[in-house]
């Protein structure tokens, strides 16, 4: 066996160029596999994070009847005394903020926007003092300033601003229905534009101060939701039960982000099947590349194989020697592939890939805006490493077996 290992090693060093080219092909395939896996995993992680940071928070308290009517955004199905609940949560070390979400028509006037128009929008009224403790808008300001209490002002998403041609200082009018059903119209000055990494939010976001919305909509201190931030390490489902117990009924329901984003998660799960297929195809391409180079390597050495047989070396030993050599190429390729994968991954994780405006007007489902960042997945690297060696060894088996079926003169005459 020692002789066979030594023979395989010598062969590897004897044909340096061939060894390097074959191992390079393996390395490239594995690097691509690691790279694509990193990107797909990164999208998923960032998407979930952006979902929690800008849409759902970790959990949300709602009126028992709100969720089933959520698409109507009813103001009369509300939380009557949110401040009391927030104080109670704070006493238990839980950060929370109240919000009012309502739908309306956005009226654009030609004086500011060049032409008149109107469109359906969803407005989120926030507590300017507390909202950024729960949501992560604090770092997203692109222009202007954040909201202050008691001002007829709005902050909008940067994509939304681009779509409607809005600038700081422009006035928008929201026509909506107040608590009960009466019409109300409010003029709001755009004081800030935020560039939210969550495209779904950035495309539609309009925020205004909650005390102003309360007055216009006759909410009398009520809110439609209380959003809660939990530590990343927290078991959300367990915390939801804990908060539900704290509320002691009161006609309120606590929902985790997973329950609220069930549709998204179902889509993500389906996408995961798709990404699995993509990875499989990448793996297949890498495997075909490895097989091809190994086949070439074996076939061009059939004469050598015939000579070894004519000298009396057993078929079994020849097969083992060739497979050991293939495993060696696989090992070199895998080391190179994983190393290259780590280098590429480092840049993808740190800087990401900016695919710019490619998906600007497309909803790809994921809550990721222009820059896609990768994620470290050491399991994938391990799989890639061992798969590289295994595949090389495996694909060497069949051409060797075929060559060994040929008679010795045919092997020696093989071109």
């Amino acid at each position: 066996m020692k002789f066979l290992i030594s023979l395989a090693f010598k062969n590897l060093t004897r044909y340096k160029r061939r060894t390097l080219i074959t191992a390079g092909a393996i390395a490239f395939g594995l690097m691509m596999y690691i790279f694509v896996d990193s990107l797909l995993l990164g999208i998923e992680i960032e998407s979930v994070r952006n979902l929690k940071w800008f849409e759902t928070a970790s959990a949300r308290i709602l009126n028992d009847d709100y969720w089933e009517n959520r698409f109507q955004r009813p103001l009369d199905i509300n939380i009557p005394n949110p401040d009391k609940i927030i104080n109670k949560l704070e006493d238990n070390g839980i950060t929370a903020t109240k919000r009012i979400e309502f739908s309306g028509d956005l009226i654009l006037n030609s004086a500011d926007f060049g032409e008149d128009g109107n469109m359906s929008v969803v407005v989120t009224a926030i507590d300017p003092k507390r909202d950024f403790d729960v949501f992560e808008f604090g770092t997203t300001l692109q222009k202007g300033r954040f909201l202050e209490k008691n001002e007829d002002a709005a902050i909008i998403g940067s994509w939304f601003a681009e779509d409607i041609g809005a600038e700081l200082g422009y006035w928008i009018t929201i026509v909506t229905r107040g608590n009960g059903g009466f019409y109300e119209a409010m003029d709001l000055e755009i004081v800030g534009i935020v560039n939210c990494p969550n495209p779904n939010v950035n495309r539609t976001l309009i925020m205004m101060p909650i005390d102003v919305a309360d007055e216009y909509l006759a909410m009398e201190g009520a809110s439609t939701e209380i959003s809660i931030k939990l530590p990343e390490s927290a078991d959300v489902e367990e915390e939801v039960i804990h908060i539900q117990n704290l509320l002691n009924g009161d006609g309120l329901t606590v929902m985790s982000w997973k329950s609220m984003a069930a549709d998204y998660l179902a889509i993500a799960e389906a996408k995961r099947g798709g990404t699995g297929m993509i990875l499989f195809l990448i793996f297949l391409i890498a495997a075909v590349g490895i097989s091809n180079t190994m086949l070439m390597a074996i076939f061009e050495r059939i004469r050598e194989l015939g000579m070894m047989r004519s000298l009396g070396m057993s078929d079994k030993k020849i097969r083992i020697a060739f497979m050991l050599e293939a495993a060696g190429i696989g090992l070199i390729g895998s080391i190179m592939g994983v190393f290259l994968g780590i280098i590429v991954n480092f840049f993808v994780v740190k800087y990401g890939i900016n695919y710019g405006d490619m998906y600007r007007d497309m909803d790809i489902g994921y809550r990721v805006q222009a820059i896609i960042r990768g994620a470290w997945n050491f399991k994938t690297m391990g799989i890639a490493f061992f798969a590289g060696i295994f595949m090389s060894t495996l694909v060497a088996f069949f051409p060797t077996k075929r060559a060994l079926k040929m008679d010795i003169p045919s092997c020696l005459r093989h071109q």
Binding site: N69, Q72, R73, D105, R177, F182, A185
Partner: protein
Amino acid sequence: MKNKIITILILLSLFIPVAAFTLTGEEIIRRADNIQIFETSEASGEFQIKDRFGVKVSTFNSWSRGTNESLIEFTSRAERGQKVLRTEDELYLFYPDAEELIRMQGSMLRQSMLGSDISYEDMTGGKDRISQYDVILEGEESFKGNDCYVLIMTAKVRTVPYPKEKLWIDKETFLVWKAEYYTKSDRLLKEMETLDTKIINGRTIAVETRIVDKMKTDTETIMFMSDIKINIPIDDAMFSLEELSW
């Protein structure tokens, strides 16, 4: 002393007829509502929806019973078969192409009907305003040569769409010649004006009405009503969900 009393009585008697025949704001509204409420009614109509892109015409047939039941069926080519049904508590929309019945609620009620200046709610809204508004008779004005009462109605409840309405109601026929609809913060939302009338069964009824959404520019909707028949027999099933999707 006796002469003084007689003089006062004579003076008072001069004022009695005036007080007796002066209508209150509520009474005016009640009468205005009454001329619009029929046991049953049937009519054909047409919308002319004008915006910056041009004029779009939609035709419809409508039926109503009492204050809270009505059915509108569109007959124009683009919307043929679409129906809007208002029952006591609900509003339904039927799309024949999709064979889909939609219960309108929340923000859906606010949506413009066929892109007009009229929302679904405006078209089918109940007519009993007395129970929902405080009415103040603000004064009298002549509107297009018609002597009118000018009334301000302020909502008592939050469940009505327009928190404030200003109406010009004909002193003789109690027809609403003009109406302005305001938001809670006093913004003018919509304006309605009667352009033409017809006397049917002794009542003066608006047959041409202009509605302008003041939140939009360069838009108006003119509604024509024709073939109005009132207090005719209408099958109960007309206002049922089964009939809607039939």
